[in-house]
Amino acid sequence: MNRDISYDAVIARKKDIMKQAIGIDYDEFETGGIAFDYERMMRETGYTLQEMQEIQRETGIGNTPILELKNLTNLARQLASKGKGARIFIKDEASNPSGSFKARRAAISVYHAKKLGYKGVIAATSGNYGAGVASQAAMRGLKCIVVQECYDSRGVGQPEIIEKARKCEALGAEVVQLSVGPELFYTFLRLLEDTGYFNASLYTPFGIAGVETLGYEIAMQFREREGRDPDVVVATNAGGGNLTGTARGLIKAGALNTQIVGASVNLKGLHMASDKQFNRKSFTTGHTGFGIPFSTWPDRSDVPRSAGRPLRYLDRYVTVSQGEVFYMTEALAQIEGIERGPAGNTSLAAAFSIAQELDQEQIILVQETEYTGAGKHIQPQLTFARDNGIQIIIGNPEAEIPGENIILPEHPGLIKVKDLDLDKLRKSYINNCVDIMGNKSFSNEDIKFLAEDSKSSIEFVINTLKELGITL
């Protein structure tokens, strides 16, 4: 078969390639406007919670321990005002087979791919998801390709990403590495087309629903252990799947009063597709460079409609600095005796600060950890930063400038989350619907959808649309 493999031709075939590679006809859930039937998509293409628990149990995923961080709690109480300082807990997702919660997402995708008769799976990821998919594919006897954005034009790669490549290969996957740029998607589509493998996207209903078991487990484990649900759950937010899945799982467990907080590392000012800036960051995921664009435009992902829709579930969204997360990673090792990867500790840094706002009898949970090792550890990551001209300073993290310096807090009392204005993000999302989808007229269905999708109200959506000059 002689297919045109030019960039434009392949991108033009995107829809057909995806349909073949996922087996979902997204058109079925469309209404013709902005709105689509999200819940029906999740229901009809996914699995029930019980089925997912069974699928994950088969490959040793889930039921990860919840650990109480008593020393960090004590520390927070010493820093907080009288009576404040919630109990801090962590769900040790690093104990999943591939070393992170991503195994949950991979489990459902790989199971589904096998069930539909695909010979292999492909995932585009520079993160822990690659190892998750490779691990699940190994267990279920499928082939696996992981496509990574890894190097800048000098051929220099982030140590964290290189470690993830090593792990994928160790688990029997082929790793295709690329230099910086969103055209990774072109290579990804070509691989899907050439191999006929399943797209184990992070953003399909399988990829998101697989995390629901995490949220559900949190509620069940806390009820058994403490007799109640946690007051606050903090989730590191990048593409939105972690937060969406966890929140949906908590809701399915009936934990309706648990506040969902998203946390991202602040990388303001760094362009994610810039060759020169690629290696000036010390976090390759869990940062605002993904967190904000994916919150305000979830459908930017590699599937037509993302199942990860963080704005639907966010009660609060905070940022922390790179220096604060590195400090907390060291703190977790030094006073809790638990060494875990830095990126997963983004939510820990946020929780340590938020705990100080809460009463002592309250409970705050950090819902994941990730494995650590060569490359994926504070020392190599800071060595890499230093080698790339980033200054490492001990001082006030407030003054950190991403891409120029990393400021380790000189005192833990300086670790303070910064709140992002959720209404601003909601408006930005609605604005993107107007701009990107080119919608000029909005039906009642669209408005209702936008209110749900941004966790706002009909009134908020109408006012925002009016501000944007849309006549209703």
Partner: protein, 104 residues
């Protein structure tokens, strides 16, 4: 010059898109450089040397062509160098926990 024979484990490199074919939304600095690709596999050609265009079979069995750049490629990432700036953290935290803020 080191030669490799059929079946040896190698790393290859390819240019996916030359700078003039890069997507329009890409930032200027990225548009000046090509989109590059690396992968690994077993050499399918009879004999080759670094810099040759070769065919390989990847670990999962795909056939891919590209420029041979490494033989028995290895990983060099490690635990980095000593970062002296990190050394205060553990002692500081233990100090606060043991003695309280006032005794720090």
């Amino acid at each position: 010059m080191e030669y490799v024979k059929k079946g040896d484990w190698v790393r290859i490199h390819n240019i996916v898109l030359t700078p003039d074919h890069r997507a329009t939304q890409v930032p200027e600095d990225t548009r000046k450089v090509p989109l590059e690709l690396w992968t690994k596999g077993f050499l399918l050609d009879g004999e080759a040397k670094i810099g040759d265009n070769v065919k390989i079979e990847t670990y999962i069995g795909r056939t891919v062509s590209g420029k041979l750049i490494e033989i028995n490629p290895n990983y060099e990432h490690d635990f980095g160098e000593c970062i002296p700036e990190l050394l205060y953290i553990g002692r500081q935290l233990r100090g606060i926990l043991e003695g309280g803020e006032n005794n720090e």
